[in-house]
Structures are given as C-alpha cells and as structure tokens.
Symmetry: C2
Subunit: 288 residues, 2 copies
Amino acid sequence: MFPDRLRQVQAGVQAALDDALSDCADIAVVHAMRYALRGGKRIRAFLVIEGAALFGIPMSRAMPAAAAVEALHAYSLIHDDLPCMDDDDLRRGQPTVHVKWDEATAVLAGDALQTLAFELCCDPILGPSDRRLDLVQTLARASGAEGMVLGQALDIAAETAPEPLTLAEITALQAGKTGALISFAAEAGAILAGADRKPLAAYARALGLAFQIADDILDVEGDPGKAGKRLGKDAGAGKATFISHLGLAGAKSRALALIEEAQTALLPYGATAENLREAARFVISREM
Amino acid sequence: MFPDRLRQVQAGVQAALDDALSDCADIAVVHAMRYALRGGKRIRAFLVIEGAALFGIPMSRAMPAAAAVEALHAYSLIHDDLPCMDDDDLRRGQPTVHVKWDEATAVLAGDALQTLAFELCCDPILGPSDRRLDLVQTLARASGAEGMVLGQALDIAAETAPEPLTLAEITALQAGKTGALISFAAEAGAILAGADRKPLAAYARALGLAFQIADDILDVEGDPGKAGKRLGKDAGAGKATFISHLGLAGAKSRALALIEEAQTALLPYGATAENLREAARFVISREM
C-alpha cells in the first residue's frame, strides 16, 4: 500500500512540476530547474498529500502544495551544493547543477525555484484564499532566516567553530536545516483543511529529527551507489554529529524512539493515518 | 513635496524592514541581510506607497508591500554582485556582501531576503486575504523564471553571445531584469485596493524602460562618487546597450519620451498622481 501510494505521489508531483515550468523560456536556467526537480524520494510531497488525506482532501486538490515543498527543497539542495557552501559534485547520482552548468546558472535556478514554490502555493485549486495565504506564510517562516536558512547558516558556522557542537546545538541546527520544511510538509494538509495542526506538528518534529539521525547513520553506513551522493563526509571533516555524541547504536535507538513518538502523535487520526505511520518507518529504514 | 514624501517613505520602509528582522538570530547571515537592506533610493517602495495613495490607502497600510519589494530588490542585488554573476565589489558606496562577509553568507542572505519578501506580503495590515494572496502571486510572477530571473539569465547569456544584442533583445532583457519588479511596485496599490491595474501597468512599463536607459546613461556619464558603484563597465565590456544602439543623444530623447508616456498613463488619476509624475521625472534626472 505505502510503496504504491508513494509511487503515485511521485508521478503526480513530477507532472505538477513539469506543468508549472511548461511555459518557461528555453534557456539554461530553466533546463537546470527541470533537472534539479527530477528524482528524489518525494517524502516531503508524500507528507503533504497524506496529511491532506487525513481531512478528506484528495490528492489533486493538495498537489500544488506538494509541488511547492519539492521546489523549495530542490532550491535548497542546489544552493547547498555550491562550491562556496558544501561544495558537492554529486546529487541523486548525477552531477550537481553548478557542475553540469555553472555557478551563475545554479544560483539563478535555485532563486527561481524558491519563487516557484511560493507561486505554487497560490494555485486556486488549493482552496479558499485565506488558507492559501496561510500556506505561503507558513512556508516563508519555515524556509527563511528563522528556519531552513538559519539551520544552513548554523551548519556553516559550525565548520569553523572552536569547539564541536553539543547535542542540543546539533538538534537546533537540524530543526532548522531539515526539520522546518518537513514540519511545513506535514502541517500543510491541516492548513488546507483549516484544522488543528498540533498533532501533525508533533509528528513532524519527531519525524524530522529521526530523518536527520538516519541521514547521519547513512553517512557512516550507507552504500554510496544507492545514496547517490558522497558519503563519509562528516566523519572525514571531524564534524560533530548525532553519532559522534550518541554512538552508532545509541543513534539507532534514538531514531527508533522518535519514530515511536511520531506514530503516537498520529493516534487522533486512527486508521486513516496508516500511510503516514509507514512513511515514518520508511524514513529510518532507508539504510538501517 | 516630492523630496519630503520620498524621505518619509525611506524612513518608513527602513523602520518596517528593521522591524521584520528584529527577532532574528544574532548571526552573520542576518547581519548581512540588515546591511543589504540599508540605503538605496527606495524608488520601488515609493511607487508602492504612492500607488496605494491613489486609492486612498494610507502609507501605514501599504508599508509591508513596500518593504517586500525592497527586500526582493536587495536579494537580487546581493546575488547579482556575486563573483559568479557580475562580480561587483562596490554597491551604494560600500563593499558588497560577499566582499564584507563571504560568498556563502551572500548566497544565504539573498535567499532569506527573497523569503522575507513573500512573508511581508502576508501581513494582515495589507487588507483582505484574497488581495494579499494576489500580491504574493504577482510578486512571484514578476521575480521568477518568467520575470526578473529570466532577465538576469538573458543578461548573462548576452556576455557570451556571438552577436551583440539587438535593441528588441535589450528591451526584452530589461523588461525582466528591472522592469518586472518596477511593474509589481507600481501595481501593488491597485492590487491592495482591488482596482483596475491597467493605467499603473502602462505607467510602469514606460517608467521601467526609462529607468534602464537612464542607468545606461549613468554608466557612461555618471560620477562614480555619487553613483556608489563601478561605472563604465558596459562600454568596457563591449556590451550592447541602449546607448550603443541609439547614441547618447538618442537615448536621452527616448528616455524623455518614455517619461512623457508614463505621465500620460496617469491621467485617469488627476492631481492625486502628482507624486508619481514627479517620481518619473526623478528617475531620469538622477544624472542627466
């Protein structure tokens, strides 16, 4: 059930993203945007679609919000991969945008994907304008200087910090860098429904942290072929991670506890939340 | 009247931008955002405020939209100045962000300023949610891959094009690069009022083009001390400009004709549009 549904979401979100760029000029920046929007697990889109399904909102009516979170995510990856940031040359098994094109194209493609994310949130199919505006505002807060960008800035600052980060500092960093957008994705359905976001917010907080711990584990234990990106970077850079603080076994058990917590947060939704429960298990099972 | 009003807008928009960042973390990216938001003529903010005034909307009720367009503009300047783009080290008489901090901080500060622009458009003081959403959507279209980013991409492509751009191509490039955001600024008041945007759109089209021709003239004739940025770049780079096509005298008379056209577009608003008429004259009088 879950893999089928994930594939359905993947196909739907790809179609929505292709459609959003169909009228754009035939220039390198737009080609780079399409390239960066291809592939990926689409777990954020899945959270949007399944969060919306809890409130009876069909996939088609939530799809632009799912496409928005993937566009926002793709922008952040392009910019994070830049030579002046993480300087990565491989992403999803393919050359990164600045390697395939150049840095100027990568900066502009990222910029325009951020813009596209906000434009997608305005799609009338998402429902009444006050809810779409709520979506825009929530996405802005999640991704700006108090959310994702803050997390990325803290991550860069950590590289030259005199002391390795504490566990609390790593947790705060990750809450911004990956957690904020996962929270947006999980809460989007409740926003579209005008419903209480608290249970989904609690689910997302635990899921986001588990996701990042799983990423640290993947960096140590993963298969580079499957991961499609450079691994072993953090240990190589002597960077403090969840594993350097908790050990590999400790990190795994912490991730499992968080997945438990995420699933508990879904109790109010009963059986309708089964796909979200499976998504949580999927997040930590990627390479564990 | 006009200089006083412009100073009022400058003070108001600076206060709004300071306020928007007041709760942010004490980190380099946020310092760089504040730095990039300082100074500037604020002509875009002025267009928002005066456009709103045509429909009886007071400055305080339009201010977040004015702050949004200045945040969006500041993001575009930071990214345009990057070494991989125009590689400028001076802006408004001060070191550019990547010179004062570094490239990573410049990328992130620009990213977060774009996000801030969309967040500012959600401010409830701007009025009913459908109009705020209209503002978000119009800003997104003006600044993304079919607007400002397209213009910047065409500008970069022009540098390696085998032939100099034609006048039509330069006009299209500038319509995206500077025109789209000027159009947003001029139309914002009509959007907030739920009024017909056509007269302000016609005003902005002519004004935006005049603005860019004036910029080309400034690049040739300007005083680097007053301009606060490197001049003579375009001629030095053998770049096609309005002046290389029209000659200096031809460019000046074209700019004057466009200002005439901009003023004619304001006829439906009578005397209430006097400040917008003066703004148009100001745009081409900067250094002519």
